[in-house]
Symmetry: C2
Subunit: 352 residues, 2 copies
């Protein structure tokens, strides 16, 4: 895999991103202000997560902790905590819901790895490579069950409604993705429908449950949901670009995984549409016939750069980032709002 990294045009990405970032972000945006604001509650979330992966069945904590300890950013639960704090929530249920959200996310990752037959996850062997597909399916089910148990503990029918709805929408998105998986004729709209379901739904729900348990009015609940959902779309689009543009060391997974797994993402769809007949044949061989070795990856990277497919994917992400930014307009100015706005920029810039 070494030697095939064609760096994406960082200056160009930065330029695109400037549409949404503050003046001060000539210094890179950071997730740190959010981390600082929620750190005290996140300690409680992390303790709860650890206690709820405990089971007498030894394999469950092993598999769960393999993934949970592997250095995910815990962005989704942090959003839940921040949204609850901004909504003036004074109880303890936001901690429980944040842990539920992270469990739902972890369950999805475990099942995704089985579905995608992935070898690596966050720079470690995927759980399924260590304990088998069986354990990944079943421990995912266990975590989903625990997520629901925790939600029930909060006694909030509103939060239960939002999160159980997200669970079905996520699964729908994953099933949709199966049918687009090797289909290069997938339209951008169809692709967006997939990531709205599989990624944005949980981001939206994670944000929405904060104001819900704080009994906020509907306009505030909707604002948080819209922020989260659009942030989620931007996040996923950048992720898709990063799969080609990052390095293994930064990403924690190999460059070109999506290509090797025959997964069509927006960068590929754009390059495919914009290419010549010969180039489209190349993409078909790579995606449909599975000819995706080092040579093909190198060619793919060239085409993605030549057709601006990576930078334009980031530009699309910038668009959704702007919607997320405007969604927060009704909220009071302050350190929390600033932190959430900076998260948008961070998500878009993180590939740079």
């Amino acid at each position: 895999m070494s030697g095939v990294v064609v760096p994406i045009d960082k200056a160009k990405l930065r330029e695109s991103a400037l549409g949404v970032v503050d003046k001060k972000s000539s210094v890179a945006s950071s997730i740190q202000p959010l981390v600082d604001l929620v750190s005290s509650d996140m300690e409680k979330v992390n303790r709860l997560i650890l206690s709820k992966t405990g089971s007498d069945v030894g394999m469950i904590p092993q598999v769960a902790n393999h993934l949970i300890d592997s250095g995910g950013k815990r962005l989704r639960p942090m959003l839940t905590i921040a949204a609850a704090q901004m909504s003036g929530y004074k109880g303890i249920h936001h901690v429980t819901l944040a842990a539920s959200v992270e469990f739902m996310h972890t369950a999805t990752l475990l099942h995704d790895d089985v579905v995608d037959q992935s070898d690596m996850r966050r720079g470690k062997l995927a759980a399924r490579m260590v304990w088998g597909n069986e354990a990944s399916v079943l421990v995912g089910d266990y975590l989903l069950g625990q997520a629901f148990r925790m939600m029930v503990e909060t006694n909030s029918m509103g939060a239960l409604d939002v999160l159980s709805n997200a669970a079905t929408v996520i699964a729908e998105g994953e099933v949709m993705q199966l049918s687009t998986a090797k289909n290069l004729e997938t339209t951008e709209d169809e692709y967006l429908a997939v990531i709205r379901s599989k990624t944005a739904a949980l981001f939206g729900a994670a944000c929405e449950v904060g104001p819900i348990i704080a009994d906020q009015e509907q306009s505030i609940i909707s604002a948080f949901r819209s922020y989260g959902a659009n942030l989620g779309i931007a996040f996923q689009l950048v992720d898709d670009a990063l799969d080609f543009g990052g390095t293994s060391a930064v990403l924690g997974k190999n460059v070109g995984d999506d290509l090797r797994e025959g997964k069509v993402t927006l960068p590929i769809l754009l390059a495919y549409r914009r290419g010549t007949d010969e180039e489209r044949s190349f993409w078909k061989r790579a995606i449909v016939d599975g000819e995706s070795g080092d040579e093909q990856l190198e060619r793919a990277m060239e085409l993605l750069v030549n057709y601006d497919a990576l930078s334009d994917t980031i530009a699309r992400a910038v668009h959704y980032g702007k919607i997320a930014r405007d969604a927060l307009a009704p909220l009071l100015v302050g350190s929390h709002k600033d932190a959430l706005l900076e998260v948008i920029d961070f998500c878009i810039e993180r590939g740079n």
Copy 2:
């Protein structure tokens, strides 16, 4: 596969079963009285199930209905309806919960087939053989999500608590089963712990939610739970015996599946413990090394019969059937109670 059926001693099983069946069951016990009592509500359940598998994502209804239409008895949702009726419940939420229970069960079957790499389910190709493991995992997730959404609709925190707890316990049981899968040293207690979790928990919960939504007192709730859980254990043990003693036509799946899948069940564990060193070597080759063709199945059937392993497994089922019977003691005598008692006998006799 043909020609290897060694019939289990039906007279002997009948004799064992007589400990729990009424005098009248010299005529076979039937599930029909239960079916008749719940038929009106079960029509609503079936309509709800059909409407909730509908999704714009075409593959979801296809996969879900493949399994849902394939002629399962719907025993679990019938138990929910009957328990609610007996508890004097007058609303509509028992229908919703019954559909939730069936969705949880169906999700488990979809995931089980992937974990066990089964080819057949209820006499049809397993969904994973038609649409792939990926679809089975994800549509299972979708149905689990829908199950939770429906529970949330009932607004009953008590039912949510019981069913979300069951979801984690089922997954725990499945994970436990992974570690006992090819382990012939599994004790009977360990095996029982697995089936208490993977099968009995949902039977118990299915019964328990009826009196819960009817606001019955705790002793009644506990009675239903105990009935369901012990019925579930008996049901699973008979299922284990049927895997060797039934015929493909009756069972809807091939005889000897458990052996071929290297799944140790109580009949195998009993025959293994009671066998000679040479016979234990045979079991190890069959289960651990996967030597499980027609010849091995024939030998296995011989050993199971010689060591009374099938009839004694049924005898164990009879024991749990008795506990289920006694659990119902606090309930009023009447057609519902009679029907539930007959279900116990039906579950035990169904292999005869």
